[in-house]
């Protein structure tokens, strides 16, 4: 859900999407406009509570007169723009971008992506069988890589990082959407515990000198987990249940309540499975949290179950 701030009245911008006339307030993006008219455009790095990072390029659309395709999540609508969301160029781009992502990354826990792939006819395996996992991706040097024979497709597969009791980092699933970095940094938490390190295919989310989380500036707010679109970051409880094969989203209920730890009044959504809290999130449209919580709200729920 998009949070719309009600400021001064805005002019309306009129343009067309796939031949349909659309009118949106000045400042709205093409993606906003598409949502408004019920046109669904897949996105991965787009965050409803974050500034567009423009990185995944899944939401590319064609704007007449533009040399390249444009990211609908960040390109603002302009009067008279003629946008195509389903042209041959956009379809090819979406298919290949999804294939590239799927060939390099484990998308098994990315909601929505399997359907998009099927719809686009994406086949990540056509780039070859995945290369074996690597245990030294954190040391990848910028501007250097080993010669390749092309018989396997390079991937970001690597061991899962479990170095604390609260959340797990499985960077074999990371698509480098920048959302965790933005949530940890100046957009929400101001902890700056993580950044993108390295470059090119060696780029990865990292703490300072890839130090374990307990030694880093991490304050365990879990806001990075909240915004992660692929499950590369997951709560330890969820991770363990997935490992056991006992994680069952269809059997979960969600109840939104108010956090009792302090007086701020953050909304908590308790995800409950078999009468046990398995995860705590916060509604992104909450005017108090915008989806963010602190360590207590996010992780301090064990006492509820101490019966």
């Amino acid at each position: 859900m998009t949070i719309v701030e009600l400021g001064l009245p805005k002019r309306l911008v009129e343009f067309t999407v796939d031949g349909q006339a659309v009118s949106v307030p000045e400042g709205a993006t093409i993606l906003d406009a598409c949502s408004a008219v019920g046109k669904e455009i897949p996105t991965l790095c787009y965050g409803d509570t974050l500034k567009p990072a423009n990185a995944c390029r899944v939401c590319m659309v064609e704007v007449e007169g533009s040399r390249t395709l444009v990211p609908s999540c960040s390109r603002k609508a302009e009067p008279g723009m003629v946008v195509h969301t389903d042209s041959e160029r956009t379809r090819t781009s979406r298919k290949v971008v999804l294939e590239l992502l799927g060939s390099a990354t484990d998308l098994s826990t990315t909601p929505g992506v399997a359907e998009w792939m099927a719809e686009a006819g994406a086949d990540p395996e056509r780039f070859g069988p995945p290369a074996p996992p690597s245990d030294d991706r954190d040391d990848a040097l910028p501007g250097e890589h080993e010669p390749v024979d092309g018989l396997t497709a390079a991937t970001v597969r690597q061991p899962v990082k479990v170095d604390n009791a609260l959340y797990v980092r499985d960077y074999g699933k990371c698509i480098l959407c920048y959302k965790c970095v933005d949530a940890c940094g100046d957009q929400w938490q101001n902890s700056f515990a993580i950044s993108v390190a390295g470059r090119g295919f060696g780029a990865r989310i990292s703490t300072e000198f890839s130090t374990p989380l307990p030694d880093s500036a991490c304050v365990y707010c879990g806001n990075c987990v909240e915004v992660c679109p692929t499950g590369a970051l997951s709560f330890k409880a969820e991770h363990d249940k997935r490992e056991d094969g006992t994680w069952d989203e269809s059997a979960q209920t969600e109840t939104t309540t108010v956090c009792t730890f302090c007086g701020v009044g953050c909304n908590l959504t308790l995800h409950v499975q078999d009468n046990e809290i398995v995860k705590v999130t916060s509604p992104h449209d909450s005017s108090v949290t915008h989806g963010n919580l602190c360590i207590k709200g996010r992780f301090g729920w064990q006492h509820v179950q101490n019966t």
Binding site: V96, R126, G143, G185, A193, T207, F209
Partner: protein, 593 residues
């Protein structure tokens, strides 16, 4: 900002290096700070990074992300002496592999420290006219450097075993002896690049004097009417860019001179920087005057130590003599100064918005456009970014007048143009010709391919450019003719390959280059360049996937999506040269089963 640090302390030397930065330094001094430590100690330790972060108030994870972006920095301990051996296009054609083999035999494998030295394979060092090249750095106070070009394996092994003699290699030499006909290069090798008096005696600072009389709008009018187009590759009209920035109400305005010449095969800007540094200083001053910028950044690639020394000298001398600073040339109220920012080994930082992030102390990732730099550029302010060669045309326009300038070249491509001739030609070097000269004429100036060989192809425009066949040499070198022929002049690369050249290996190097130099920000480029390299490697090596996939079809599709959906020009052009080799040379024929 409440920062948390790992428990590591800086040594005396590391602290001293950082303390030498200007007082009150902020985040935009991050790159200089990393250079300071890397220069003095040879690598950047946890303690040093902590100390830098404390001084500049930068979060350590953030600074780690920046430091690990650049290939000239090391975040693990390494010897004080590091030798970079160029293995890029022109050096490859001229025996870089042999140099590497000799080093492996006598010094050990690349990247492994032995006897106080380590050597690394490097992308283009920008001395293609003297290929193959190697550049040695030695950490210390002061740090030393030594350029070896052309170099034999034995010479590089010798250099690896001694302290650099702070020997910067020979000054650039021109093969065009008729200086009267040269408009941009006429001082190269003819005047002392350290002497402002020499510069003035050969017409220097007449253009700035004219500019001050014309006023900012007058200068922009002259530049617009001259038809000058950017020489960095994109060919945008310079006057329009200047006007766009000049009329922005937000202050201050900035000027950035893009001297991060890293396109493999390009070295024209280095020749200008080393041979005529005052011309660039004067040109930047004129650009600052016209666009209302009071500070200009010269973003210089880190692999050009000689250029750095000579341009720094030119800036210092110009300031002493009143050609920079306040009330320049007695013109009250006109202030302008220049600061050099040294790149640290990242091709992407030559992209016009990545350069802003790099100067500001962030990862050199391109920004999304719009907004365009003339509206929101460096530090979010209106900014003009111009290439070195573009700027050096400006004094010529202001001394000869726009009409005379337009006489040179063709109607749509006005002025003189510099080309970088390298590869299999007899006299590699920078050549100045009017736009419209044919490729054949240009190759003849450089003596053509060596005796007894035949031309196989010419790479025009660099790794992001395209190939031209021997039967297409009558192509007039103009922006419009290149475009019509489905290629580009790019940054002026003309790299000749003869019949003995290993075209497959050459294409593989281009693919490998783009993979290495991708910033990694967007998916089409970050993963697309990898898949491109893998497919080229299969084709060149005569291998096939077990699925029997059609590798050319795969390349075409990935190439199209890199071009359509990448954030910046790097990803958008990463398929150009390989595509043209496929389409025009049939270079990867045999891939389709």
């Amino acid at each position: 900002m409440d920062l948390q640090f790992l428990d590591a302390k800086a040594t005396f030397e590391e602290r001293a290096a950082v303390d030498a930065l200007p007082e009150g330094a902020a985040r935009d001094q991050l790159l200089p700070a990393l250079h300071a430590v890397n220069d003095r100690v040879g690598w950047i330790s946890q303690g040093a990074l902590n100390y830098i972060c404390e001084q500049l108030h930068v979060p350590p994870a953030d600074a780690y992300g920046v430091a690990s972006f650049y290939s000239l920095f090391s975040l693990t301990e390494r010897p004080e002496r590091v030798v970079h051996v160029c293995t890029d296009l022109a050096c490859r054609v001229n025996g870089a592999d042999t140099v590497c083999d000799t080093l492996t035999e006598h010094v050990g494998p690349a990247g492994k420290a032995r006897g106080g030295v380590t050597w690394l394979r490097s992308p283009c060092l920008g001395v293609c006219e003297k290929a193959p090249a190697a550049l040695a750095f030695e950490a210390g106070d002061p740090a030393g450097s030594e350029l070896l070009a052309p170099a034999t394996g034995a010479e590089v092994v010798l250099a690896a075993g001694r302290s650099p003699a702070t020997e910067e290699g020979a000054a650039p030499v021109l093969h065009q002896t008729d200086r009267e006909s040269l408009k941009l290069l006429h001082r190269i090798g003819a005047v002392d690049p350290e002497s402002l008096d020499d510069y003035r005696a050969t017409g220097g600072y007449a253009a700035l004097r004219n500019a001050l009389q014309l006023g900012p709008n007058g200068v922009i009018r002259e530049v617009t009417d001259s038809g000058l187009m950017g020489r960095g590759g994109a060919a945008f009209p310079t006057g329009r860019k200047w006007e766009g920035a000049a009329r922005q109400p937000a202050l201050p305005h900035y000027l950035v001179c893009n001297a991060d010449e890293s396109e493999p095969g390009t070295f024209k800007d280095r020749v200008l920087l080393e041979g005529d540094p005052f011309a660039l200083v004067e040109a930047m001053t004129i650009a600052g005057f016209a666009t209302g910028a009071t500070l200009g950044y010269l973003y210089l690639r880190g692999e050009y130590p000689r250029a750095r020394r000579l341009v720094q000298n030119a800036i210092d001398v110009a300031r002493e003599r009143g050609f920079l600073g306040t009330d320049i040339m007695g013109h009250e109220g006109f202030s302008f100064d220049i600061e050099i920012r040294r790149g640290a080994g990242a091709y992407i930082c030559g992209e016009e918005t990545a350069i802003f992030n790099s100067i500001e102390g962030f990862r050199g990732e391109p920004r999304s456009k719009p907004p365009f730099p003339t509206e929101q550029g460096l530090f979010g302010k209106p900014t003009v970014v111009n290439n070195v060669e573009t700027l050096v045309n400006v004094p010529l326009i202001l001394t000869s007048g726009y009409a005379a300038y337009r006489e040179i070249g063709t109607e749509k491509s006005a002025g003189p143009k510099l080309f970088c001739l390298s590869g299999n030609v007899r006299k590699p070097g920078v050549y100045e010709v009017p736009f419209g000269t044919t490729l054949r004429e240009l190759l003849e100036l450089a003596g053509g391919v060596p005796e007894g060989r035949e031309l196989r192809a010419v790479l025009l425009g660099g790794a992001a450019g395209g190939f031209v066949r021997p039967d297409e040499l009558d192509l007039p070198l103009t922006m419009e003719d290149a475009r019509a022929a489905g290629t580009t002049l790019g940054s002026g690369v003309v790299l000749a390959l003869d019949d003995k050249a290993d075209l497959g290996g050459f294409l593989l190097r281009i693919a490998s280059f783009f993979r290495d130099e991708s910033c990694g920000q967007c998916v089409p480029c970050r993963i697309g360049t990898v898949r491109q390299e893998e497919a080229v490697s299969r084709i060149v090596g005569g291998r096939k996937l077990s699925t029997g996939a059609d590798d050319l079809a795969l390349l075409r599709e990935v190439g199209q999506v890199m071009r359509d959906s990448s954030i910046c020009g790097l990803g958008q052009t990463a398929w150009n040269a390989i595509e043209s080799a496929v389409e025009r040379l049939g270079a990867l024929d045999g891939a389709e089963s």
